[in-house]
């Protein structure tokens, strides 16, 4: 780790760089929202951010706490109904990238946000699917960002809320009208991508100062590493400054009332 930036800043900046200028991006709340707005405020001013509350092309000045904060509507190009959002915009194929978080992800990039344990007798009940199950199949591709730990990166999720590549990596094969699915997972340690053949998540880039052992230790399956592993480029000063200002503004705003 550097003293110039934290591991979570490294994660957010790397996630933000995944978005290209001009992409249309369906934004999940939390880390994805932070990364997507950082992208908009730095290298991708024309990225189009869409939240499932119906707010199209929104430019929030502070990060929303919920998916439907007033800020999102006030700064949007327009706001459509939620049925229209899911029918015309998500299912209609108008979105390039879905940017998701998750509680659990497994080696085939399946996401679990439903529960830990058994469905009829859960150990922990989580919020559920929300917009993710269809976002994962109807958008062009999916980026996922979450913190790396054995608790979140598991061999097999307890419940496939949102499909990555299925229990055996083949869930998207021969399915018509389906997106590419998860193409990268950005954590605080590394970047993973699905193997071209098996679809198993594979480390393709390590953040500076992070060792293979750290990743192996934090992953709940025998994680593979690509033949050529890059070192993830570090955040630049401007990105860090913009991110810190954004988080400070957000903090002030949400503690107000």
């Amino acid at each position: 780790m550097s003293e110039r930036y934290s591991a979570s800043e490294m994660m957010t900046v790397t996630a933000s760089r995944a978005l290209a200028n001009g992409n249309t991006c369906f934004v999940g709340i939390g880390l994805p929202s932070e990364a997507a707005n950082l992208a908009r405020l730095t290298h991708a001013p024309d990225v189009v951010l869409i939240y499932e509350s119906g707010t199209l092309q929104t430019r929030p000045d502070v990060l929303p706490l919920s998916i439907g904060d007033g800020e999102l509507c006030e700064t949007a190009l327009t706001t459509v109904s939620v049925p229209e959002m899911f029918r015309y915009w998500v299912q209609g194929g108008q979105i390039d990238v879905g940017f998701l978080g998750a509680a659990q992800v497994d080696k085939y990039a399946n996401l679990n946000t439903t529960l830990i344990g058994d469905y009829d007798n859960p150990k922990v009940r989580l919020p559920g699917g929300g917009g993710a199950p269809e976002m994962a199949t109807c958008t062009g591709e999916i980026f996922i960002t979450l913190k790396h730990s054995k608790r979140t990166f598991v061999d097999e999720v307890d419940f496939v809320t949102t499909v990555g590549f299925g229990r055996d990596g083949t869930a998207r094969d021969n399915v018509p009208n389906i997106g590419k699915g998860p193409t990268r997972i950005i954590t605080d340690l590394c970047v993973m991508q699905p193997d071209a053949d098996t679809k198993e998540l594979t480390v393709t880039s390590l953040h500076p100062g992070v060792t293979r052992e750290q990743v192996i230790e934090a992953t709940g399956w025998e994680i593979r590493f690509a033949d050529d592993i890059d070192e993830t480029p570090v955040p630049d000063d401007h990105e860090l400054e913009v991110l810190r200002e954004l988080k400070a503004r957000t903090e002030r705003h949400h503690s107000e009332a």
């Binding site: 709340i29 707010t55 919920s66 998916i67 509507c73 109904s81 439903t114 919020p127 503690s255």
Partner: protein, 273 residues
């Protein structure tokens, strides 16, 4: 044709024990005042429908009003769990509740289909998800033109839908503005509907394609200023993000929750006509 009633009378007339009730509002315009009135009137065995249960259903479930929940995302947005919902699901307190779980896309389409008078909604949904394994209301059909397999869910047709909006005119026509969610669909899909509004005005004073729900598809309009707090009403007051954060420790603890309910709902007699 919409009748102007007090919130007490509207809930008393249209929300029966055992009814299927949808209170909608996607983060914005959540009908908290109406939800509290339902709690105060001790309605029981309700089937509660809502895409995002939010604190309003956490409170209704904790107060023992619900026997079943149909939903697609049950959390405290940006904060964490709905602890009253979890306590009911995980430990049966104050009573166990049945849950029927969808994705947002499916519920949005099901409300849309309900408003459209159809028995089902069709969507390209649930591909690869385990949700169809635990929800027997999710079926699949083959498109007769392309052969593509598509998901089908029953439309939502509540006994009563309750929503909050900015304003009504004297005829009970209602303007909903900002994040409009599935409120119009909820009202149109329901057998009966109650709309609470910030204010009643002479003229909605709006634009040609505004989201206006005509009075003749609404049963009752009740004036309830601040009726969406701690959620928000675009143009009137902001969301109390602080309340959402403060809710977490209250909801984690049965006693703290019960005390909160006594003080903030039961003790707070709703306005009568």
């Amino acid at each position: 044709m919409a009748e102007f009633l007090s919130l007490h009378d509207a809930v008393s007339r249209y929300v029966a024990d055992g009814a299927t009730v949808a209170m909608e509002g996607f983060t914005h315009l959540i009908p908290f005042a109406a939800g509290h009135e339902v709690i105060r009137q001790k309605k029981r065995d309700l089937t509660l429908i809502r895409m995002t249960p939010d604190l309003i259903y956490d409170q209704l479930i904790g107060a023992g009003c619900a026997k079943k929940l149909i939903f697609s995302w049950g959390g405290n947005p940006g904060v964490g769990s709905l602890h009253r919902l979890r306590d009911a699901v995980e430990h049966g307190w104050p009573n166990s509740i049945e849950i029927l779980e969808h994705s947002h896309a499916a519920m949005a389409c099901a409300f849309e289909a309900g408003a459209a008078g159809l028995p089902l909604a069709i969507l390209r949904g649930y591909i690869g998800s385990d949700l169809p394994k635990v929800n027997d209301q999710i079926k699949f059909i083959d498109c007769p033109f392309t052969g593509e397999r598509l998901a089908a869910v029953p439309s939502i047709r509540p006994d009563v839908s309750i929503v909050h909006a900015q304003k009504a005119d004297r005829h009970g026509n209602v303007l909903v503005e900002g994040i409009v969610g599935v409120q119009k669909e909820a009202v149109m899909a329901a057998r009966h509907s109650i709309v609470t509004v910030e204010e009643v005005v002479d003229d909605l004073d709006t634009h040609p394609n505004a989201c206006v729900i005509p009075g003749w598809v609404i049963d009752a309009v009740a004036e309830a200023p601040g009726g969406a707090k701690p959620s928000y009403t675009h143009g009137y007051y902001p969301r109390s993000n602080k309340f959402y954060k403060d809710w977490d420790p209250i909801a984690r603890d049965r006693e703290a929750f019960s005390a909160w309910l006594d003080e903030n709902v039961y003790a707070n007699e709703g306005a009568k006509a």
